[in-house]
């Protein structure tokens, strides 16, 4: 049942990402909590969403270019991490999160390849629409547009739960076999958070972006240090 939830949420996210609406519901910051909520671990999804969002902030479909499929990657990472955390009885910890990203992050890159294949598949839909129009069937021709939603749904609904299953299998085995890894992997999660923020700043391509990024980070650290110091 859990994998069915992952499949449905990942499939709907794939549709929302490009084919319908594009209301940010398939962005990692929203999708990871949705997956977490669907699997009964909202806090786990909320832990994963922000760094993944910042990491893939620049994953934008401009013109005919294809970015990594951040929605597919996020669905697999969040689904796998929540199920792994449940198997361990700890929920999604930083150690679980790092291993889930390491195991399923590549799916975003694979998603770019499947997106390309879907675009080629859709050429047939457009050709069929033209054929139906010539046959005097305009309503049937226009329906071909909606059939274009099926392929991204199916691909994500198959790949995301498969990758989540892999994460749910591997991560508990690793952390049970090597419990001493929990603490070091927490450091890895902290480092990934720093990189994600940097990747987000880079994604804005602002002329003053790096200076603003550094300045606001310094101010946040100073304010946090002062508030922490006066407690």
């Amino acid at each position: 049942m859990d994998y069915l939830f992952v499949a449905v949420v990942a499939g709907l996210a794939a549709v929302e990402r490009k084919g319908f609406l594009q209301a940010m519901l398939s962005r990692p910051v929203a999708l990871a909590p949705i997956v977490g909520f669907a699997l009964g671990d909202l806090p786990g999804g909320l832990l994963l969403g922000p760094p993944l969002e910042l990491l893939w902030l620049g994953a934008v479909n401009m013109g005919a270019s294809l970015p990594p499929n951040e929605a597919l990657g996020t669905a697999a990472i969040a689904g796998g991490a929540v199920l792994a955390g449940r198997a361990l009885g700890t929920g999604v910890t930083p150690a679980v999160a790092v291993l889930a990203v390491a195991a399923a992050g590549m799916l975003a890159t694979l998603g770019r390849t499947t997106d390309r294949a879907i675009e080629e598949w859709n050429v047939r839909l457009a050709a069929r629409a033209e054929f139906l129009l010539e046959r005097g069937l305009p309503a049937a021709a226009m329906r071909e547009n909606l059939y274009g939603l099926a392929a991204p749904f199916a691909v994500s609904a198959l790949l995301a739960p498969a990758a989540a299953a892999l994460v749910a299998l591997v991560v508990p085995a690793v952390l049970r076999g090597f419990p001493a890894l929990n603490a070091p992997l927490g450091w890895g999660w902290a480092a990934l958070g720093g990189l994600a923020a940097a990747a987000g700043a880079r994604a804005f391509r602002s002329a003053r972006g790096i200076g603003l990024f550094a300045g606001s980070a310094a101010v946040t650290l100073a304010v946090g240090w002062l508030l922490g110091g006066t407690r």
Binding site: A64, V101, A102, V123, P138, L149, W187, G188, A197
Partner: protein
Amino acid sequence: MNVPPVTLRRVFWRCLFLQAAWNRRGMQNLGFAYAIDPALRRLYADPGKRREALRRHLATFNCHPYTAAAIVGGAIHHEERVAAGQEPPGAPLAFKQVLQGPLAAVGDGFFWSGLRPFFGALAAVGTLALGWPALVAALLVYNAFHLWLRWTLFRAGYRSGDEVVVRLAALSLPAWASRLRDGGAVLCGVAAGAGALSAAGRISPWAGVLAIGAAVAGIVALGLRARLLPTAYAVMAVGSAVGAATQVFRGGR
């Protein structure tokens, strides 16, 4: 003959499916024809003329999915005139060809490079600080604004046709995009600082230093065009190795 408001609303709803069958040959051609079809059905009672109109909207088309709403509205504006015999049948196609490039550039620059990543960063920082209510609030504000703007562009295109360019220019979207990009970079800096403070409190002060180091390394590496995912793997591995070394060092003392 004018297209009735209920049909216009239906066309706008169908605009949300513009990229459903995005393809390498005609790009958004099928989505465009699908969106405008209810209006064409109203304008051309003769099936042959409707088919001819649909055929011209199956020509290659590509634009930003939000700003394309203005072109769909403007195409209906021109189709009304074609149906009334005031314009040649090629007028809607010419309108689309002239505007799709500039409006794609405006949409990519404002929505995809400014507004959406800004709200992504805002939602991320808000979630880190306040949890899910901040996330929901950010999504609601983004969608209220983006849907309002899509509808406004659609209506402006329908009412003013070619003049929609003037309406769009009045919105000063490139200037707003620049401000949003700056604001987004600030939000990412806040996220970096807050993440480092959190790591310092949760793990150790050195973990906070590591997080800042990873941010600096990320800025440099990505500036040198390093690929994102391999960089993320390297940073996670190095961060974990530093954590392990620290553990060993502490255990040895």
